[in-house]
Amino acid sequence: MLVMIKSDFITMKNSALQLLSIMLIVAVFVSLGTGTLIAGVAAITAAFTFMYIFSIVAYDEMNGWERFRLTLPISRRQVIAGRYASILIVTIASVVFGMVFSLVGSLIASSLPQIPFVASLAEGFDPVVETAHVLLIAAMLLIAAMLSMPLFMRFGMTKATRIVPLVFVFIMVGALYLISDFDDVVVQMLPVLQTLFLPAPEETLTSLGLSALVFACLLVPYAISAGIAMKLYEGRQF
């Protein structure tokens, strides 16, 4: 598995710096444009992981790299385990980048009171709430990865990009159908969702704890997704 993680990072290391620079510029403009740091943090966290997933899967198909990689001393299961691990590492790293961005951003903003539209970014900045939000964004990325990766690994990027949107639509429709069937449960959940997304000042730590719990709980279906991807990848013909 370690070979695959290293392989993914060696493959991406030249692009990663480029991606991060682009994301940083985008995050600055998004934050200034929306007047809030969280939008920039979301841009860094979500877009970096998302672009990592798409780039690494796209590289697989170039010049038969994916086929050649299987001739290295690495099993098909290790390929999947390593790929899922590398995505998880990048997701966690992007959470850290996002937090660093928000902390540095708030420091810069608070040190520039003479520029009102920059200084306003620091108003109401709460690192605990920011971290909770970043963890929720990371949790959403894990959901996207766990749904799309089995298809990417089984069919390759070219074919899977035609199937993945269909799967997402089915899941969203299914989720809406379930919500409409269990609306009383949803109503009961509303205070929890409120704490999670829009916590009151005294609920910020609870919000962080809940976000971390959501992220941690998602690791179980993420691992199940890896198991499904392994099964699918075993039968793939190169």
Binding site: K6, S7, I10, N14, T71, S75, R76, G235
Partner: protein, 300 residues
């Protein structure tokens, strides 16, 4: 005798194409060339050997190790095999030095000084991006990667295609050096049969998914020959041909008839009036693939 590659009754079918059942042995200490027209199953066979596709039937053993499930080949066995495909497979955004990192991460036996020496010998700049390498340079990098972990078996699929003659000769020299160890073996699929004339021990031809012939190179290049006949001489020759000996392959053209004979010296003695030349693998292939097969006078 221990074989580097031993497959029995290997089969793989796709809609509209079937390979096998195929038996193939590659002895240690030998270079086997895999030839045949495009799309006849050479790459499919190589993919089967490397576990990239699963066989429908048959058995396979590599370096003496039976592989009941080739798609799940043990990593330790993979580490003893070097592979070069027809393109430089490393990711385009990577640099040459990243390939060295990949080798270090992948192989316990990775020989960093040897890889660096290859880079110097080949004039490959470690900072250069893979996307900016010429085809020849890319193939040299692939071969350097395949050799730098000291494999016992090399599997090459069109590795010399598109290279200029000098670059090809350099690669062939490397392969000769690799074969100085008598436990090593090479299976190379190629359309450049002149390369096989220089280094192969055996030539295997596949056509339409089946093995057409498997001959020692000497049997082709030293013993076989092409007899050049006038059309009027052909009937007599075929009548005299003994069914017990190897078949003749006959290719008619505008100015006469070419006949592939298994033993040009014996043929020369038996038919001193018919000129017979040494045969190149290309001509041999052409006659076997396109010629009419005549097993003997009882079938005429």
């Amino acid at each position: 005798m221990e074989y580097a590659i031993e497959c029995r009754g290997l089969e793989k079918s796709y809609p509209g194409f079937a390979l096998g059942p195929l038996d193939l042995n590659v002895e240690r200490g030998s270079i086997v060339g895999l030839v045949g027209p495009n799309g006849v199953g050479k790459t499919t066979l190589i993919k089967l050997l490397l576990g990239l596709i699963t066989p429908d039937a048959g058995s396979l053993a590599l370096l003496g190790q039976p592989l009941p499930d080739p798609a799940n080949m043990p990593a330790a066995l993979k580490a003893r095999i070097g592979v070069v495909f027809d393109t430089c497979a490393f990711t385009q955004a990577s640099r040459v030095r990243d390939v060295a990192q990949l080798g270090r991460a992948s192989y316990q036996e990775w020989d960093a000084p040897l890889f660096t020496r290859f880079l110097v010998d080949f004039g490959l700049d470690p900072k250069k991006q893979i996307a900016k390498l010429s085809r020849g340079m890319g193939m040299k990098l692939s071969l350097a990667f395949a050799l730098a972990h000291h494999p016992e078996l090399l599997v090459l699929d069109e590795a010399t295609a598109g290279l200029d003659p000098l670059a090809r000769d350099e690669m062939l020299d490397l392969l000769r050096s690799f074969m100085l160890d008598e436990h090593h073996a090479i299976l190379m699929a190629t359309h450049i049969t002149s390369d096989l004339e220089k280094i192969a021990d055996k030539v295997v031809c596949i056509d339409a998914g089946a093995m057409l012939f498997c001959e020692q190179k000497e049997a082709i290049c030293d013993e076989a020959g092409i007899a050049h006949l006038r059309s009027s001489q052909l009937a007599d020759l075929l009548v005299q041909h003994d069914a017990a000996t190897a078949p003749l392959f006959v290719l008619k053209h505008e100015y006469g008839v070419d006949v592939l004979v298994p033993d040009r010296f014996a043929f020369g003695k038996a038919h001193p009036d018919i000129p017979v030349d040494r045969v190149a693998i290309d001509d041999y292939l052409n006659l076997v693939l396109k010629g009419e097969k005549h097993a003997g006078h009882d079938q005429i």
